[in-house]
Structure formats: C-alpha cells, structure tokens
C-alpha cells in the first residue's frame, strides 16, 4: 500500500509530536521523582528536628519538675514552721488574755481570786499565767515596819 507525500508528512509530524510528548513526560517524571525525593528528605529533616525538639523539651520539663518538687518540699517545711509559730502565738495570746481585764484582788492581803473561786498569792497567780518569775526581797518601808531596830541601826550607819 502506497501513501501520498502529504500523508507521509502528516505521519512524520505525528511521530515528532509523540516523540516530543514522550520526552516532555520523561522530563516531568524525572523532575517529579526528584521533587518526591526532596519532599521525603525534607519530611525526614522535619521529623528528626521534631524528635530532637521533643528530647530537648523533655529535658527542660524534667529540670523544671525537679525544681518544683524541691520548692514544694520547702513550702511544706515553711508551712509546718508557721503552724508551730501560730500554736505558740495562740498560747501566748491566751495567757495575755488571762492577765488582762479585771483581776479580783484582796484589798488587805493582795491574794487574787481565780475563775474557780480559789484565792492564790499574787506571785503564785502571775507565775502560773505568765512566764514571769519572782525573786523575793524587802522594801525600805516594810523594813521600818517589820524590823524597826534593824532599820534604826541602818539609818545610824548611813549618817556616819
């Protein structure tokens, strides 16, 4: 079967077009493969960075966590100390409360009457309700009144 010149030219042109299409698609395929490989390597790059970041963040969080545990312990200790202080202060407050307000006292012997109606010596009462301690002595007026001879002797010695 013979074909005309025009027909032949048309076929040659079609072959050229098909060759071009194959070449173009070959180039596209190669570039797409390269882009795919590039995307995979970028993905791995991002993934590795993510792993690294997670590791770094975990270490940071562990360090912060350790500090927080330490701080919690310290706060617990401070709380306990504060509670002790509060108890101590409350006790002191109670005592202050007992020694404040009206104290019923005997006009003659100076004994003090407590809540249950018992009369105590003033030094006994104060020692019981405060941290004050008593040291006994004698004042000049009482010396004159209780020991007049001794008082006179002391006066004479002073004048000399």
């Amino acid at each position: 079967m013979s074909c005309s010149e025009a027909d032949l030219q048309q076929r040659i042109q079609r072959i050229q077009e098909l060759e071009t299409e194959v070449r173009h698609l070959g180039n596209e395929l190669r570039l797409t493969r390269e882009e795919y490989e590039d995307a995979t390597s970028k993905y791995l790059d991002i993934y590795c960075n993510l792993e690294k970041k997670i590791g770094e963040r975990t270490r940071e969080l562990d360090a912060v966590n350790g500090k927080l545990v330490q701080e919690i312990e310290e706060r617990k200790r401070t709380e306990a100390e504060k509670e002790q202080l509060i108890i101590h202060l409350q006790k002191a407050m109670q005592e202050v409360k007992v020694l404040s307000g009206f104290l019923p006292i005997c006009a003659s012997c100076k004994k003090i009457r407590d809540d249950s109606g018992y009369w105590s010596q003033i030094e006994e009462y104060i020692s019981k309700h405060s941290s004050a301690l008593f040291s006994h002595g004698i004042c000049p007026d009482c010396v004159k009144k209780l020991y007049p001879d001794f008082h006179e002797e002391m006066q004479r010695r002073t004048k000399k």
């Binding site: 050229q16 071009t20 299409e21 173009h24 570039l31 590039d38 995307a39 790059d45 991002i46 960075n49």
Partner: protein
C-alpha cells in the same frame, strides 16, 4: 503626589520613590524567597523562618495550599505540612506569587489596560517560562518562573508612581500603535525594563533575574552567561501576548526575532505549541477557580 505634577521624574528619583512607597513592603519577603530559589542548599527551616516573619502570609499560603488547585488529600494546617504535601519548590512559588500579587491590586482599567490584565500576563509568562525549562530542558525552572512573574515589575512601578503619565501613555498607545518601550522612552525618558532592572539591583536580586527583568525586550544586552535565559523570557513574553494574554494595545515585535531566539534555544515549534496548550489549561484553571488575585 509630586510625581503627578512633574512629568519629568528621573529614573534615579523614581527608584528613590519606590523605596518610600508601599511597593517596597514586599522587598524583604521577595528578596528572601529569591535567595532561597537560587540557593540549591537552602533548607526547609530557612523557608519556615522567612514565612514566620510575615504572619498574614501564612494564612494566605494555607488557603492556597488547601485550595482545589493543589487538590491534596488532607487538610493542611501548618507550613510544615504544606512543605511536605505540596513541595518545597511549589511552596516557594506560592509565596513569591502571593507577595507579587499584592502590587497588582486596585487601579482603574483604562483603554484596555488594567493591573489585573498585567498580573494575568505576568503569571502566564512565569508559567510558560517555567514549563519550557521543565519540559524541554528537564530543569526545575524556578528562576524562570520568578523572572516571568517579575519581568514587568517596571510597568507596575510606572502605573503606581507615575500614574497620570502612564495612563496618558496607554491612551497614546491605543491611538498611535507603537512598541511599549518606545512610548515609554518618549514619555518618561526610560522604559519599564530599565525601571525593573534598577529596582532589582537596589533590592539585591540574583544577577540572572536582574538581566531577565532588565533585558526581556532586548536579550542581546544581557550578560552572555544569562542570554539564553533572557531569550526564554522574551519568548514566553512574546507568546503570551500573541495568545491574548497581553495588557496593553501594542504591536508585537518582528516575528523573525522570535524565530531566531526559538532556534537559539534549540526549541521546536511543535514542542512549544504543546507547552503553550498546557499553560493555557493551567491559566484557565486558575481563572476559573478565581485564584488570579489572592
């Protein structure tokens, strides 16, 4: 604006005005992305850092990445996912396209010219130049895409900063058909290639891109090592105008020049026709889905 009162704004003065105008808002991101495009050792973390400097850009990228144009099977919720699902190179192109599109918003159409038409043309040239590189030369063509997208940046500078004179020029071109560059030289004393080249130099664009922008109407003026690249931009520019993706009424340059550059690049017309068809389909999809201006 003082430039509207003064029709004789020198090229250096115009380039100074660019730096104080809203045009310069894209400088940082575009400069950064161009460095990444021309650096084969660029890392994904560099790209992520660059995007993080421009928060509104992240939202735009995610919107485009999730659009049916890219048709990914899952919802992309952050830049890292976008990087994996749509690829490093495509992501760089999206960023460049998004930032460049900011310059082409607004404006009123006049005598067949509009910023939207100019943007449509730029996008067409970018896609055609890139597809020639991919299909014919088996190269990624990222630089060709960037040069195609930005080759007419000088036109948008004239439109925005010398608006009155530029619209006057567009009217002259409609009444007296002539080359755009000739009309610009008689109107301003310089053409958009020179304006774009000056801007690209001031913004430290890669040398290949500077030549692509500056000499896309005259590839012979480019440095020898970039001449074939610039010829590819010339071919893409010419063919997009021829295919109805122009932006102003001008006669096309002598077709013999185009034929010569096609031969210089070792391209066959049947191969170019197949590539044009692919780009027309792509542009049709972009327009149909309303992604022309983001």
């Amino acid at each position: 604006m003082d430039t509207e009162k003064n029709p004789n704004v020198s090229l250096s003065r115009l380039l100074e005005l660019v730096e104080t105008s809203t045009l310069s808002s894209i400088k940082g991101t575009v400069g950064g992305i161009l460095s990444l495009i021309s650096d084969p050792a660029a890392r994904s973390s560099d790209l992520i850092r660059l995007i993080e400097l421009d928060p509104p850009l992240t939202a735009k990228i995610l919107r485009v990445a999730n659009s049916s144009y890219y048709a990914t099977s899952k919802t992309i919720s952050d830049i890292q996912q976008a990087l994996i699902w749509i690829g490093f190179d495509t992501l760089k192109e999206i960023i460049l396209t998004q930032k460049m599109s900011e310059l082409y918003r607004g404006g009123t159409p006049a005598c067949g010219y509009s910023r939207l038409q100019l943007w449509r043309h730029s996008l067409g040239v970018a896609l055609l130049a890139k597809t020639i590189y991919r299909r014919e030369f088996g190269e990624k063509g990222n630089n060709a895409y960037a040069a195609g997208l930005m080759h007419d940046i000088g036109v948008i500078v004239e439109d925005q900063l010398l608006h009155r004179e530029f619209i006057h020029l567009v009217r002259i071109l409609e009444d007296t058909p002539q080359q755009l560059t000739d009309g610009e030289i008689s109107c301003f004393g310089y053409d958009h290639g020179l304006v774009g080249k000056g801007l690209a130099e001031n913004w430290n664009f890669p040398a290949e891109l500077i030549d692509g922008i500056g000499f896309h109407h005259n590839p012979e003026g480019a440095r020898e090592e970039h001449r074939l690249f610039v010829k590819a931009i010339f071919i893409a520019d010419y063919l997009m105008f021829e295919q109805g993706y122009g932006y102003v009424a001008i006669p096309l340059p002598d077709r013999e020049i185009l034929q010569q550059y096609v031969r210089d690049l070792g391209l066959q017309w049947y191969a170019l026709r197949a590539i044009i068809e692919i780009v027309r389909e792509d542009l049709g999809k972009i327009e149909q889905k309303g992604y022309l201006i983001a």
